[in-house]
């Protein structure tokens, strides 16, 4: 079987980018990991680089280092420059220099081949758990609890906003300071098969700004022609 595109997205499942040039390993890993995660398996540097360049977001990237047309360290650098995607290197290059380079780039784990499936699964889970976004955020007028998907005003009033609104807010916070396009937000929150429009995203941002209140509404910053950004310091729209 050839490298695959995402299976239809269930929005709660974590998305993993798997870069592995060996067809048997890639296919076996994709099949096994797809039981628990949404997997995008690519087998060349060029295809992976293209995917990163268009700004597709992942919860984790598992990278082989030796690829036929490039190397995984350069891919990791590209991923790092476009956001804070957690990284696991899964490679036969296990010498001290390579491991050091991997950690310098910011790898969360460096797993040498041959590996145990159980160990890989444990480490994936561990990395995903350690990058769980903040569960609660306190602003000047409200406290947002993302685990309960609820908002508590400081005057004691509780609000349960629309789930999609909070998912959009959480997405912006998790990827801050990166600017997310409307398409990226739609892709991550609704999935590729749904028909949400740019207007839907804009309406949600209007509602979120009302929810944040006068003092914090500028924390969601519009970037003209690009999309939206969570700016903790607040900022003017462009």
């Amino acid at each position: 079987m050839s490298p695959s595109a995402f299976s239809p997205l269930a929005s709660e499942r974590k998305k993993i980018l798997l870069i592995e040039d060996d067809p048997t390993l890639g296919e076996s890993l994709r099949t096994r990991l797809a039981r628990d995660y949404d997997i995008l398996w690519l087998n060349t540097f060029a295809r992976a680089f293209q995917e990163i360049k268009v700004g597709r977001m992942f919860d984790l990237a598992i990278l082989d280092v030796g690829l036929p047309d490039g190397n995984g360290f350069d891919l990791a650098l590209a991923l790092r420059s476009s956001g804070r995607t957690p990284l696991i290197f899964l490679t036969a290059q296990s010498d001290a220099e390579s491991r050091l380079r991997g950690f310098e780039i910011g790898a969360d784990e460096y797993i040498p081949k041959p590996f145990h499936l159980k160990e890989l699964l444990i480490r994936i889970e561990h990395v995903l758990k350690s990058h769980v976004p903040s569960k609660q955020i306190e602003l000047s007028q409200i406290i947002i609890d993302f685990s309960a998907m609820s908002v508590r005003k400081k005057n004691g009033e509780n609000i349960l906003p629309a789930l999609t609104d909070l998912k959009v807010l959480q997405l912006l916070i998790d990827h801050s300071p990166k600017v997310l396009s409307r398409n990226q937000i739609i892709d991550a929150v609704w999935g590729v098969d749904e028909n949400a429009s740019h207007r839907t995203v804009d309406n949600i941002v209007v509602r979120l700004r009302q929810l944040l209140g006068e003092e914090d509404k500028n924390k969601i910053r519009s970037v003209r022609g690009v999309g939206y950004q969570w700016s903790p310091a607040g900022g003017q729209d462009e």
């Binding site: 060996d22 076996s28 030796g66 036969a92 001290a96 220099e97 041959p114 145990h116 499936l117």
Partner: protein
Amino acid sequence: MKFASLNTTIPHIHRMFLWEGSFLLATTILSGAALIFLTYRDQLRHHQLKIFFSNFSHDIKTSISRLRLQSDLIQEDYHQSERRRSDFPELHHLLENIARLDLQLENSLYFANLNESRFHLEDLNLSQLLESLRSEWQDVEFIFNEMEFKADRRAIISVLRNIFSNCVLHSKALQIRLSGRLLPKDPHFVEIEITSNGEIFSGNLSELGRAPLSLSSSKRTRGNGLGLYLSAELIRRMGGGRTLFDLTPDRHLRVTLTLPSATSMQEKNS
């Protein structure tokens, strides 16, 4: 007459010096050039060997990864079907043999490049390492007290795999105990004592950890001693002390490793 004879002898001697000198110079230049050529050829061959080893190890590791992943997947499916392992011993043997093949390859690669091996020393703890290793010996119980030390992750995993493999293969151990402590005399070092249950040790203790003179396996021990020799060498090269092999009072093998203690422990004790 005498003067005439002397006049003819001096140019003759000059010519002789000239020839001999030229010959010596030419020989020196040629020898030097030959030495440079041979050194260059040796370096080139060394470089080619290095590339060959690098490609070979990459390919073979990928192949072993494939085998191991396939067998892990089969085993996982098999466990989900709730059948007992004894129903399918071949799968268990396959996994064991893949793990042995992997260890033998790792040992060969370390042995071939021992003098050029570089280490990246980092703070590690026993629980992290055992979490990685326990999948390989699923029937073995590990008892340990937490200990932090400084080591190269790949090298220390190789050391522990060799020692555990030795315990399981030769003593048929079902329990391995690791007890670590700071050296009372020098808190910059930790000592880790590894013992196991199983059959009592019946080999020659003085041979353990020594450089294997011949890599052919001994029929009696089913091993060539390379694993324990490498373990001792790797520990030494990571800044640790001499690895000791002795027997417990009930005649089980005891391996004692000494490694630099973790940065936090060194700071605490300085």
